[in-house]
Symmetry: C2
Subunit: 521 residues, 2 copies
Amino acid sequence: MEYPPPFSDSQLEDLVSDIKDWQITHGSLLKLVNTDQDSTVLTHPVGACLFPTLFPKELFEQALGLQKVYNKLYARVAEDEEWLYETLKDDEFARILWDIHEEVKKEGYVQDHTLGIFRSDYMLDANPAGQVKLKQVEFNTISCAGGIHSNLISDMHRCLQRRGAYLPAVPIDTTTPINLSASHLPPSHTLSTVTAGLIAAHTIYGPRKSPAAEQTCILFVVQPRNFNIADERPIEYALWDQNIPTFRVELTPEVLAHTSLTPTRELLYHPPSRPAAAPLEVSVVYFRAGFEPEEYSGPGCGDAREARVRVELSKAVKCPSILSHLITFKKVQQALAIPGVLRQFLSSSGEAVAITNTFARLYPMDTSVAGLEARKLAMDEEASEGYVLKPSLEGGGHNVYGSSIPAFLTCTPEETWSRYILMSKIASPNVQNLLMSPQGLYKGPVISELGVFGVCLWRRSAESEGRVEMVEDKEPCCWSFKTKSAGVDEMSVVKGYGCFDSPALVDNDVFMACCRDGEQS
Amino acid sequence: MEYPPPFSDSQLEDLVSDIKDWQITHGSLLKLVNTDQDSTVLTHPVGACLFPTLFPKELFEQALGLQKVYNKLYARVAEDEEWLYETLKDDEFARILWDIHEEVKKEGYVQDHTLGIFRSDYMLDANPAGQVKLKQVEFNTISCAGGIHSNLISDMHRCLQRRGAYLPAVPIDTTTPINLSASHLPPSHTLSTVTAGLIAAHTIYGPRKSPAAEQTCILFVVQPRNFNIADERPIEYALWDQNIPTFRVELTPEVLAHTSLTPTRELLYHPPSRPAAAPLEVSVVYFRAGFEPEEYSGPGCGDAREARVRVELSKAVKCPSILSHLITFKKVQQALAIPGVLRQFLSSSGEAVAITNTFARLYPMDTSVAGLEARKLAMDEEASEGYVLKPSLEGGGHNVYGSSIPAFLTCTPEETWSRYILMSKIASPNVQNLLMSPQGLYKGPVISELGVFGVCLWRRSAESEGRVEMVEDKEPCCWSFKTKSAGVDEMSVVKGYGCFDSPALVDNDVFMACCRDGEQS
C-alpha cells in the first residue's frame, strides 16, 4: 500500500496553491504580532499537512469512545479536594492556585456548576511485535487550543478530497495507492461542540440576578497580543450568532478594570467603550489565559491572582474553576496511573481498565519508592533513552527527551526534581506525508498526535457518586490532530513545529503496511 | 443629526481590533503577491470602513429597482450587432474583440445562451438646490469584482451593530447621534446570487454531450498571480458545495494547454494534475480575466486571442460572450445617452425615462457635432473643471479629472481623442466616516460608490423583442459599496484608494442634514 498516493509536480503545485487560498479565505491563519499596527496587521497561513495523515480507524474510535469516561474521571478528581491537595502539595505553581481556592473556600463557593472543555492527547505506540496502541500524552483542562484550527483543516481536507485533489496522478505498478474517499475522513464538529458547551453553561446560569445588570453575557479571559486569534474568535462569533453577548478581556489589567463583584457576588462586566451604559452580568467565564506561571509572576502580573480570586468568588460558571484547572497538572496524570488509584474514582472495573490501557509508564520524580526508581532510570545514560522528563505543569515545550535527561538533571537542583514526572517515550510508527508551513515544505516520515475534546458540565453534589452529577456531556465528535516531522521531538504548531492536520482512517493492517513501506522507501 | 455617533478612544480601539480580527477570520484579505512562496504567503486585511456610511434609502432602493431594466437593456444591446459595430468601430481594443466575434460567426455560434454578471455603478449627485440624485458612473459586464468583499464587509458591519459597537459612547448635547439599528443595514446576498447565476447557466447547459468527457464542470478564467483571490475563491467553493466541479485556469497559457475543442465543439477541460484521467466538459466559462488590452498584447500574450476564440467557438455558456464583453465599453454608455437611442431597446417609455434619469451628461470625443462640442468643453480651462475624461474601456484608474484635461489632451495625439468619452463630474455630497487600510486610518469627509449587481441569463432569439429572451433574472439584492476620502478622485480599493463598505440607509432629509453638519464641523 502506498500513501500519500503518487502525485505529479503539477498536482503538488495545484495542491499548494489551493491550500494557501483555502486557508486565506477561511481564516486558517496566524497573525505576525510584531506587524500589528493601528490600521493593519500581517498574517500567514498556519502550518498544514498537504494530505490527511493515515491513522488506524479502530484506535481513533477507541479514543473518542473513551472521552466520556475521562470526562467523568476528571470531573470527580476536580471535586476530590483531599486527593488533589495530597497530589499537588509539592508543586510551586499549584500552590499559588490552591491558595486562591482556599481563600474563596473561606468565603464559601456560590456556584456548584463547572464547565469542562478538556482535551486528551494521544500518540500511537508500536511495540516490537508490530502491534500499535493508543497512549495518552497528557490531559488538558484549561485553554485547550487547536480545536478550531483542526476543524478548519479537516474541512479543507474533505473539500480537497471532494475536488479530486487526492486522486493518484500517476498509477504505478509496484504498490497499490490508497484512494481517499469521504468515508476515510471523519468530520470534526469542534467549533459547534465547544460553543454548545458554553451555551449549556450559560443556560444553567439562567437570567441575570443583579438588578444593576442589563442582561447576561459570556466573558473570554484572553492573553494580550495573541497571534492565534483564529482559534478563539470563531467561538465568540458563534455565540453572538445565538444572540449571546460575548466579550473578551485580557488577563490581567482588563479583568480587574472592567469587572466588579456585587455584594451578592454576581460578576458584572462594564464594557469600557460605553462607560455610561448598564453593566452586563457574567454567566460564564471561559479562560484562554492564566495557564502559565509567568502570567502570575512577571512584572505587573501580580494582579492575576486577584483577578482569579474575583472570578472564582463569583456566581459565574467557570471554565475551568481553580480546582478543575489544577487537574491539568502532569502530577495528577502520573498519580492516576498508580495501581489502584483509578478505582477510587471509577466504580466500573471495565472503565478503569480501558483508561489504564492508554497510560504510558509514569513515575513521580520525588523521594517515594517509585520516585527513587524513576531517578535511577533518569540518571542512567542508557535507560533514560526510553523516557521523557516533563515539568508537572507545562502543556509541552519544556520537556527533556531521552539521553539529554541525565545531563539536564545534573544541572538542576535536586530539591526541584519532584516538580517533574518521568514518562516512557511513545514509539510512534512513521507514516509519510508532506507538511507546509512558513518554515518551508517537508516531505518524509511524520508522527501525529490526536487530541480528543471532552465538553461537559457538572454539578458538585454531596449525594452523587464521586461528588459529581454530570449535567451535560457532549458527544465527542470533536478533536484536534497535529502532525510533525518524525525527526522533531516537540509538537507545537503555533511555535512552528508541526502542522494542523486531519486523520485519514484506515484499518490497522493497512496502516502498519504503510508504516513498513515508509521505512523501506 | 450626527454620524458617526460620538465614540471614545477605547471604543475606537476596540472597533479597530474587532474589525481586523473579523477580517482575518473571514478571509476579508489581500495577498501580498511578492511574498507568495512555495510554502507560505503574507496577507493583510483589505481596506474597510469602520462604520457603515450613510446613504439615502430611497436612492438605494431606486438603484436596486432599476437593475432588471438595465439587465434587459444591456442584454438587448449585446445582441444588436449592427448598433454595437457602429458604436465601437473606432475603438482599437474593441476591434480585437470584434474580430474574434467575426471569426466565430463565420463558423457559426453553437450556444444561444449568455450569462450576464453585470455591475452598474452609481454615485450621489447633489444639485445646488440641495436635492440629491443617483448618477451612473459606469456599467460593467466583465469580471465584475468587489461583490464578495462587500458581502463580507456588510456581514461584518451587521455583526458589529448587533454587538453594540456602534452605540454612541458619549451622548453629547448639541446634536442627536443616529443610533444604527439592524433595519438601517440591508443584507447583501452577492455571493449566493452570483453563485445561483452560474448554477442556472450550468443547468441550462445540461448533461455532457461528448462521450469523451466524464462529467460537466464550470471553468473560471483568471489572471495569473492575482492578489485578490478573496473575491473569487468563495464563488468556487460555493459551487463545489453544490457538487458542481469548478476549476481555475489562467489566461492565457493554461487555457490553451488544458482545454480542447471536440469536432462537435464541446469544450473539454483536461485537469493537468491527472493526465491519465478523462477530461471534463465545460458547461460555463466565467471570465475574471481578459478585460485589459495588455492581456492581448504583452509579450507571450498573443495567444489570448486564440484562447478567446476557442472558448467563443465552444458550446459552453460564456460569462461574458465577446458581444456582451463589448457592451462594457464607455462608448456604449455614452451612445445610449444620446437622446432617442434608449427607445430603440426599451419599448416602455417609463423604463427609458427611469434609466435616463440616472445618466450624467455624456459626450463622445469624436468629430461628430456632439464630439466637437465636447472637445471645446474639454479644452477650456474653466469649463473642463466640471468634467471627467474617460478612456472608453477602462473600469477606472486611467481617468483624467477636471482642470487636468486640457493639458492632457494637448499632449495626446488628436487622432486618438475619439477613444475617450467626456462625462460631467458627479458632485457627491460629503458625509463623515473613518477608513482603515494598510495605508493608515483616515477620519473625515467621504464619498461612496454603490455598485448594483445584475445576474441574468438570456437566450438569443429571432422571435423575441429585442432579440433576447430573458431566461433567468435574479433579484438584485446584491451590491458592492465602496467609500473613499472626499479628497481623492480615483476609487479602487485593491489599489489602496478607498475601502469596502456597506450603506447605512436613512431618509433623504437625515442624509442631507448630516452632509451639512459635516461641512460645518
